[in-house]
């Protein structure tokens, strides 16, 4: 079983690094193959909004850089993890540059889903999704963050998904237990 971790943190973000390490440790112990990707170190250009991945080279982004790899890894994994500092209630630009580039996972075609118009999925297989945000003390954007994750789960339709916000002023010793709880929610450990 494979997990890919999209780490959208800045250099020196010890909280997210510790969460990432705990995910790697716990899943590796269970025999999973885990690949953490520090997005800040990867050459991923911003999505051009050209729709080329839908109508020119269907399923493949027209930009030939690591963004193509993120799409491949996202669909070929059993679990995809997104790690990000909670940024105004949403994701960091580092994480978002990768997410904007995985829309080749979708088809351009519209359908009604959950009462709204959404794009159809390109692949039959979908990937479980775990989203974790690290939030600065004194801020309370959990509701926005959870709602954004919920919207993403509607669009990417993972067979299981979980979202959680870790407060940065929490004792780091609690991280392994926090991670274990999240991995249980996406049904990859019991």
């Amino acid at each position: 079983m494979k997990t890919v971790i999209f780490n959208g943190s800045e250099e020196g973000d010890l909280t997210i690094k510790a969460i990432e390490k705990s995910i790697v440790d716990q899943l590796t112990e269970k025999g999973w193959e885990v690949e953490p990707i520090e997005l800040r170190n990867m050459q991923i250009a911003a999505c051009l909004g050209c729709f080329g991945c839908w109508v020119k080279t269907p399923g493949t982004c027209v930009i030939n850089d690591y963004g193509r790899e993120t799409t491949r890894k996202a669909i070929q994994s059993d679990l995809m993890v997104w790690l990000t500092p909670v940024t105004f209630g949403g994701y960091s630009s580092e994480l978002k540059k990768a997410l904007d580039r995985i829309i080749p996972l979708l088809l351009p075609y519209f359908q009604s889903y959950h009462g709204q118009i959404h794009h159809k999925m390109r692949y039959k297989k979908h990937t479980k999704l775990l989203i974790i945000g690290a939030q600065e003390p004194g801020l309370d954007y959990e509701e926005t963050f959870m709602a954004l994750a919920e919207r993403n789960s509607i669009n990417f339709r993972p067979p299981a998904y979980a979202v959680s916000v870790f407060q940065r002023d929490t004792d780091p010793k609690t991280i392994p237990a926090f991670v274990e709880e999240q991995l249980k929610k996406v049904e990859v450990i019991s």
């Binding site: 999505c47 109508v55 080279t57 269907p58 978002k96």
Partner: protein, 232 residues
């Protein structure tokens, strides 16, 4: 004599001038220019990746009395260069104390007909405004972008009549130093036809539109390809 107030149109779309974000934002800013405000334009995707560009962006923001952020919806949120621009502006304003009263207005647009699909993205911009000490000037949500086709908006014409009427009303509010009224927000955010019709048209004709684009690129037969499937 008072200096004319300045309005910055900050475009969040990577498509720049060829975007619905630009078409909508430009209409509003043109209206404000008619009312005596001095306009300036900045394009997030062209500025955020270089030191020089970032400095230009921050200078433009510092100079503005009103910032109109016009941006599309990407994956339920803002495009990555737009988020990067917000991160840069936030860090800058933390470091440089300003007593100047500045207002931020957001105009979101999306291909989906339901304006509610933009609520979270708009909330993120609102959170940014609060954290960065901007006065919130209101938010407009323009659905069903396919009807606009990135062309300049014409006042009171067909499909854009409610949008342009709402933007015109918003320009009156902003020129008087007020946030956009709820009435203007609602008018500009309302589709020109009933939602259920727009949804049906999206399903029926929107898909034909995608096929036509693919055919133009000789890619129609490959539309549903799965190049990343494991067994390929």
């Amino acid at each position: 004599m008072n200096q004319p107030r300045k309005v910055l149109l900050l475009i969040g779309s990577p498509r720049g001038e060829r975007s619905n974000s630009y078409a909508i934002g430009k209409f509003l800013v043109n209206k404000l220019e008619e009312k005596g405000l001095l306009p300036e334009e900045a394009f997030a995707a062209r500025l955020v990746n270089t030191q020089k560009g970032a400095e230009r962006l921050l200078r433009s923001v510092d100079n503005a009395d009103i910032i109109v952020l016009a941006t599309p919806l990407y994956v339920d949120s803002l495009p990555s260069p737009t988020i990067k621009a917000l991160e840069l502006i936030f860090e800058h304003r933390k470091a440089v104390f300003s007593t100047k009263s500045q207002m931020l207005v957001a105009i979101m647009n999306s291909g989906f007909p339901e304006k509610e699909q933009m609520d979270i993205a708009l909330k993120i911009i609102q959170n940014f405004a609060q954290e960065s000490n901007f006065k919130w000037g209101g938010g407009i949500r323009v659905g069903w972008g396919m009807a606009l086709n990135s062309e300049p908006l014409k006042e009171k014409k067909g499909m854009t009549r409610k949008l342009t009427a709402g933007l015109s009303l918003a320009s009156v509010n902003l020129s008087e130093g007020q946030p956009i009224s709820k009435e203007a927000e609602e008018l500009a955010s309302t589709l020109f036809l009933p939602l259920f019709v727009a949804k049906s048209v999206s399903r029926l004709f929107g898909n034909r539109g995608w096929n036509k684009l693919a055919k133009d690129n000789n890619a129609q037969a490959k539309m549903c390809d799965r190049p990343c499937e494991l067994n390929q």
